[in-house]
């Protein structure tokens, strides 16, 4: 059992506020990912939870108990650092057993727990090596091993995969997901990689400039972004954003005009005719269609084999990206018309807030 609550958590360096009031609930066994651009405060927030950064104001509760003043050594959390931060003068065995040694665990039990963790992480052949004799992936595993031997209340990960190459990163991502499954532990994970966020998380927290922009399941964030920032941040290629004008609204949704096309988006909220809004369309929601609403010209085609990306300039000069399954035959520099389902579109008001969708995506309920 390990839950975490953040209540109006704030952090200032002198007069400069970097965490501007964060509220968050983390349930037992939940895998929560903090994402955001660099400098958004996600690592600082994690370090505040760890106890490595002082909390300026607000409450941090672990299992319902306020721990603001409890030191990192006594919070019962384990952390995996971006740089791994292994103890260079100790063997892998001693690195993994250090926390148990600090806790006064007797030697035989220590050896048993280290052996168990080494087995899970396939580190058995390396137990007597020092960190500098290991590869990046092995070091990463030792850092994780050091965390799991302690059986902590909550695991904290600070961009643990960012120093690995792409292939290894993909492999470790799967191992982490499996580890979460096996250990049934509460985990908090910081990353700027949205693939890691989308694939690992039960719940994603999108941060920007020290504030929470949105909290939700990966698909909820993808299909129902709360604002322009989340819409632009989650998803690759990015969501296409077009300037639009409200023509009217009825029970079926909002009627819009954008890039010379008219369409109805099933969204509610008060929007008076003539209001300037932003229309958001995911690249995979657009498709070449002779009867489509948008007209333009293909500028560039990226063929990835399984996917084709068309970079299209619309008649008004707006650039959009179209993502098509499989290998699409559309050539570059060809005129094209693009069609879209109104239900797959998003509308954001002048403040960048999403107008509430009338229907929910079935997987993002």
């Amino acid at each position: 059992m390990a839950t975490l609550q953040l209540r109006n958590l704030r952090k200032s360096y002198l007069a400069h506020e970097v965490i501007k009031g964060v509220d968050l609930e983390v349930a037992d066994r939940e895998f929560v990912v903090f994402v955001g651009p660099s400098g958004c405060g996600k690592s600082t927030l994690l370090r505040m939870i760890a106890g490595l950064e002082e909390i300026t104001s607000g409450d941090l509760l672990i299992d319902g108990q306020r721990v603001n003043e409890v030191g990192p050594a006594d919070r019962g959390l384990a952390m995996v650092f971006q740089s791994y931060a292994l103890y260079p003068h100790m063997t892998v065995r001693d690195n993994m057993g250090f926390a148990l040694r600090m806790a006064g665990v007797p030697k035989p039990e220590r050896a048993r727990k280290v052996a168990e963790a080494a087995r899970i992480l396939q580190l058995e052949p390396y137990l007597d090596r020092r960190p500098k004799e290991l590869s990046g992936g092995q070091r990463q595993r030792v850092a994780i091993g050091r965390a799991i031997v302690r059986n902590p209340r909550i695991f904290l990960f600070d961009e643990p995969l960012s120093n690995l190459d792409a292939a290894l990163r993909g492999q470790m991502r799967i191992e982490l997901a499996r580890l979460h499954e096996d250990l049934q532990a509460t985990m908090i994970y910081v990353t700027h990689d949205q693939v890691e966020a989308m694939t690992l998380a039960d719940k994603i927290v999108v941060l920007q400039a020290g504030r929470v922009e949105q909290v939700g399941s990966p698909l909820e964030l993808y299909h129902h972004p709360a604002n322009l920032f989340v819409a632009g941040f989650i998803g690759s290629p990015r969501m296409n954003l077009l300037e639009a004008r409200v023509l009217g609204a009825d029970g079926a949704g909002v009627m819009l005009e954008a890039a010379g096309a008219r369409l109805t988006v099933p969204a509610g909220g008060a929007s008076r005719p003539g209001a300037a809004v932003t229309l958001g369309i995911r690249p995979e929601a657009l498709r070449p269609d002779p009867a489509g609403a948008f007209a333009g010209e293909v500028r560039l085609v990226e063929r990835l084999g399984g996917l084709t990306l068309l970079h299209v300039t619309l008649v008004g000069g707006e650039a959009v990206v179209v993502q098509i399954e499989g290998s699409d035959p559309t050539p570059a520099h060809a005129p094209v018309r693009l069609g879209v389902e109104g239900a797959a579109c998003h509308v954001f008001d002048a403040e960048g807030q999403a107008l509430p969708a009338l229907g929910r995506h079935p997987l993002a309920a």
């Binding site: 490595l52 990192p72 384990a78 952390m79 740089s83 931060a85 103890y87 003068h89 600090m102």
Partner: protein, 273 residues
């Protein structure tokens, strides 16, 4: 190609020139120590002479070398250990828990080294007299430790700065409190730095003459006082003075030579890796 070769030659000549210039006085001192007193003051100076050990014999007869050498060892080691005992915690605090004033505190500490020691000779002398520690080893240990403290703190500070903070944070997450963090992580990681610092401090203590000449007479007198005693009332006896100097600097010279790698690292303040 040609110009790089010429540069190489120039660098070699300059390097050797500087080295010989620095080494010559030591060489001349050792040479003189094997001369007779007459040969030692001969003009023009003699390079070829009949070597003799009579100066060494006379030096050993007049003063107990081992007594002074033992004092030098005890005081240098004592002063170094005392300085480290204060400097390690100080440097730890400044390197890993800095405040807005850490930088200026460090600069202020270093600025005390710019004060001429003779400026505080009288107060220190009076203090030592009142405390009854004139001509005692413990008195010199204290003064040597204080004398080297700023530089020792500075060096340790720069070495500690090289230890990645995340390793200590990982230790804290692993449940290590300040004491364990210090003992199990920081100290083993900075052994090379602490060794270089200790080495430099030992050498500075060994060579120190101002305080030892003014605060000791015989009981606690180290080798620097031993040398000075040969430049005394009866006039200058260069051969004996050289013999005394040679045996006084020989141990630290050998020590420094054996540990030069550590020393170079220490003297560059951890700037080169």
């Amino acid at each position: 190609m040609r110009s790089s070769r010429r540069q190489m030659l120039l660098a070699t000549v300059l390097g050797w020139g500087a080295a010989l210039l620095l080494f010559f006085p030591i060489f001349w001192m050792v040479l003189t120590s094997f001369k007779s007193e007459i040969a030692a003051i001969a003009t023009p100076p003699q390079f070829l002479f009949a070597p003799t050990l009579e100066s060494y014999a006379e030096v050993q007869e007049r003063a107990d070398y081992l007594h002074f050498a033992l004092n030098s060892v005890l005081i240098s080691v004592g002063g170094t250990l005392l300085a480290l005992a204060f400097a390690i915690p100080a440097a730890y605090a400044m390197a890993f828990h800095p405040t807005a004033r850490t930088r200026s505190t460090l600069l202020w500490m270093l600025s005390t080294k710019m004060l001429p020691p003779v400026g505080v000779l009288v107060p220190i002398y009076l203090l030592f007299r009142s405390l009854g520690i004139l001509d005692t080893r413990s008195g010199l240990v204290v003064i040597y430790a204080l004398m080297n403290l700023p530089i020792v703190v500075w060096m340790l500070f720069t070495f500690f700065k090289e230890v990645p903070g995340e390793i200590l944070e990982a230790g804290r997450m692993d449940g290590a409190r300040t004491g364990s963090e210090f003992w199990h992580l920081l100290l083993p990681l900075s052994v090379p730095g602490i060794a270089s610092t200790a080495l430099l401090s030992l050498i500075l203590c060994w060579n120190e003459a101002f305080w030892s000449l003014n605060l000791t007479t015989s009981e606690a007198a180290p080798l620097t006082t031993f040398i000075a005693s040969f430049s005394s009332p009866q006039g200058l006896f260069f051969a004996k003075l050289s013999a005394a100097s040679t045996i006084a600097v020989a141990p630290i010279l050998v020590f420094g030579w054996l540990s030069q790698r550590q020393l170079v690292r220490g003297l560059t303040f951890g700037a080169v890796k």
